[in-house]
Symmetry: D2
């Protein structure tokens, strides 16, 4: 019953096997390995973007920070939601990598709203040289609250950005889970909708620690490479990143794993709903925010369930007080774990 995070589960066996296969003899370092050539080709094909520049880094924060720094001047501001990972969970990494850009929060509690985005952009940069200048729009798909933007929603947000000639970044730490939900193509969810740079996350979906950053327009590819090296995110033994990503692409492991995670989450959501539990946010992919009485949380914890309370504290207070949990499923969650969890809720 481990639902604390999709980065706490094990690496998929196919990935370990791929690492073992890659561990043969010598290979050029720093991304010049043959496996990376294959990875680049396959990602271009997958995204229907033959010119795209493709790079691997090992953490989601690296992907986000390097991409945003490449899109953003230090005197600009990034538009994101108040719950964005880049705002809340990266210890000012975007500010660091961009050389001191600002993040401007588009009001809201989960998904970014196009009208709110437009209003926020309008309010910024009315002061000429004095104020922060408008910079990129950053979306997270799946959002940090487990929601999935529809294609129409992404297109609407990108249209607002385009009205102001602002580039769009998609933090795709859970890209695969979103895509499994929407059942569209990677191209549909990115460049066809107006996204300029996207991270294609693997770490939360069965890899050991690899994210691809895809610059759909390769114009700033060399700048990205320099920023990656200077940020200490260029790996000498790069083949072990390449091998993970290749395994991820092989037989669509990325999609299979995401579907498993989403399916587990859907089962969990169904069971909770059946038990009369509501949700603070729409459980669209592999993350749920159910709202349950404190006594249920206490029972679950006593039974060994592991997850984070998103509001309130486990101990003390009214046993009937409703507290929100965050439950996250990865590919490895078993039916048994879900069933056992639900058995304690009823």
């Amino acid at each position: 019953m481990y639902f604390a995070s999709d980065n706490s589960g094990p690496v998929h066996p196919e990935v370990l096997a791929a690492l073992a296969r890659a561990n043969d003899g010598y290979a050029m370092g720093y991304g010049a390995d043959a496996i990376m050539d294959d990875v680049r080709d396959r990602i271009r094909t997958l995204f229907e973007a033959p010119e795209a520049a493709v790079y691997l880094v090992a953490t989601g924060t690296a992907a986000n920070s390097l991409a945003l720094a490449t899109m953003c001047q230090p005197w600009q501001t990034v538009f994101c939601t108040p719950v964005a990972h880049i705002h809340e969970d990266e210890c000012n990494a975007p500010e660091f990598f961009s050389g001191g850009a600002k993040l401007t929060l588009v009001p809201g509690t989960d998904k970014m709203d196009p009208a709110a985005l437009r209003a926020t952009i309008e309010a910024e940069e009315t002061r000429g040289v004095h104020g922060p200048q408008r910079g990129p729009v950053s979306l997270t798909q799946v959002t940090e609250r487990g929601s999935v933007y529809s294609l129409a929603e992404i297109e609407a947000l990108c249209a607002v950005a385009r009205d102001y000639a602002l580039p769009v970044y998609m933090d795709g730490a859970r890209f695969s889970n979103a895509l499994a939900r929407l059942n569209c193509s990677p191209a549909d969810m990115t460049w066809k909708a107006g996204v300029d740079i996207v991270s294609f996350g693997g770490t939360k979906n069965g890899l050991m620690g690899v994210e691809a950053v895809i610059l759909l327009d390769p114009e700033k590819a060399w700048e990205f490479e320099l920023r990656r090296k200077r940020g200490a995110h260029l790996f000498s033994k790069h083949r072990y990143l390449s091998a993970q990503m290749l395994a991820y692409l092989d037989g669509d492991l990325w999609l299979r794993s995401a579907r498993m995670a989403n399916a587990a989450a859907a089962k969990l959501a169904d069971g909770l709903r059946a038990a009369g539990i509501g949700f603070a946010h729409s459980p669209d992919a592999n993350m749920l925010f159910p709202t349950m009485p404190r006594r249920v949380h206490q029972k679950l914890h006593a039974a060994g369930a592991v997850y984070h309370l998103w509001s309130g504290t486990l101990d003390g207070g009214d046993p009937e007080e409703l507290l929100t949990a965050r439950l996250v499923c990865d590919w490895s969650v078993t039916d048994d774990a879900v069933a056992t969890f639900l058995s304690h809720v009823k």
Copy 2:
């Protein structure tokens, strides 16, 4: 005959096995895994430093940049040699992570000389608030030219730094190779000699991508943690870094591997010497800089040897012109490879 770099060879099988063992069930992320607790304890024991703060990162540049940034204010300057990796090979990462500190070069062609260090420190900061302020001294052990500082040499450099109350960093990307050469204890080569922070490199010695950063005085431990996170170098699935380092410590794999690499290099050096070849730098550990006629380089390349020319170009020019090569051995270099290489030199 692959002598291009010690980061081009395969990962040691014991490391892959450890990764597989670690891949079981759930584990807390971000360094809170149980394996890391074990790693921390063992490194403290190995370094005879029970209070030391121990952190893992995935690249040598991350280790160097984060350590130096923690030791150095943006208005200070780091003292290093003109051939230091931090100066030549990190695309200004130390300047980036430190927020714009300077690197001041202590003249020399390989090891740092204590008298030259003193003279360079003296020349700096004679201008009050106007000039850069004196900052940390950074040594590389093994040096970028394959030399190993003796304990007395390290002590002499640290004594100069101490005269000016400057902290000392040791870039230990090849720490194990140096230690295998000196046959001393990690404590002897670090804090007993006056080193404040050291990186204990694994990537060039059989790991996939892990370096430990050891703050012998833990006073700035929390600052280091914040810098690591903000630099996007804190891994969510940290257990896979921990597992590599644990395998490295198990049965002294770090020392066994370094001894294998050094032994291969020694055989290569002996054979080259026997063939009348000289060296541009003293071949103390696992890296050689032999000086051979162009025709020999051409013959070796034709035979499939892979390594970098450190001076000159393979093609054109006088066949007898002496060109320096850089040959690096890792743990996986075989006697056969050495013998074949030498057979082409004679």
Copy 3:
């Protein structure tokens, strides 16, 4: 009828005279001039702070940015209001000088509220190493909307900051106007209330371009000096900054000028009130935000009045629509200008 800004008016004649007096022979540069010694002593006396470190810079943004950078680590966040000059009007200078710190907005439309500050601080830094760390609280006195914090209000905010061991900065670009309003001592409004660093603004109050930064605790004085030099804000011909500040202190020119500006604003406010005009913010010092019908604004502009509309546009729309203006008085505003302006309002 020029009410656009208190930095658009002329320099006070006593200041020009002081510059001429200072222009005699040679003087040591970079703050080592004898006039600065006098300035330092007098400011220490004025603030009843014999140990305070006192520095001069030439712009308000320099004062704010250098002070905040000295108080704030790059991984921290500064708490300020959404209308703070440091947030809206400095093109990310605080982010730049601090090396990438964040600004966290305490909700509100003018003055910072202690309860809102506490709630905002509480919400921040609940994520350990992942989120921004809590940093300084920054107040603007007079606020950017023309309000003046009472001593009790300052004390209440500082008490909240102290509960979390956070330092407090006071942006005193209009320090003198606030003090003229409160009729208290500089010590009362700063360190006795809990302020750690304050800027004592001169530029908006009759100087050419000088702000004093006063570190009431001198512990970080040398760091401030290095940051000032490195930010290119240390003047070689420093005596001309010193001379301005000395003139400002002579015979309390700072207070006389502020009283003149406040008195002009009060007359303006009284007249507007008499004409039935309301205010968007409390006109406490030398800045007013009256809300008047568009037709009145049009009439005033036609008559040559110069000021900024804070909401809406002069042209088009309903003539009766209420639009907010920002009117600012400096020491040089005449009774005539006020009377003429009011004559057009009636």
Copy 4:
């Protein structure tokens, strides 16, 4: 007998008069004053550069740092001499403003040598993404050692830079003194020779604190404006900077003052030569580095002469030991001061 620095002397009376004239009524702030329009036009005319972007800042370090940051990416390196002001005397300001670029020193003791520049450029950036990338070349005219580059020398250096497509910056803190020496036009010494951005210094030549930064190609003008604001170097009461610069241009005060300073220095040099004194560097403009016995320095100091020793210490040691002084003349140095100084040398 004050020869310590050309920033220690008084402001020229014409400048003070201009400030008084400018101090009339209201003026738009932040560079939108009418005087600045005039200044811009006149500088464009003076430099025969009708498209040039012209900005004022208050310190030489601001001019240098903002210009270089505009020309240089954070992953690049600036080529300069080991005695460059930007390297020795700005407390890492160029590193700060550029976001962590490096400075690479072209070997030499005074002027930059074209062959040395070429060799240094060649040695840099041979490591692809790993090393610092080549960035702008920065020249100081008059050099920090008092020498003046001939037009041919500037052209030769710019030709080397152009071979590598690198932009050229001229630190013209003493631009006027160089031009007075060369007796050429500003266009000759800048864009006709290949310079891209130049600072036209006023502070060391009779102004209170103003330097013009001239972007001969205005492409990055808006970026420069944003960097200036964000660096806190945009003045609200900008007209007082404009007025100084206008006075400087009026009747060629810049050239008259520089000629007075150079003439005083020439008299000093002649007298020293007549007394058998040699020079460590060629005294081309308003700065001399005479080499005199310690006893002469002691006599001069006892007589009240004020200047810096560039080598050695006044007290102790052999009275006949030769010590180098730095003597700087500004426009205000009198014949009497020179004669008195020389009388003590003989």
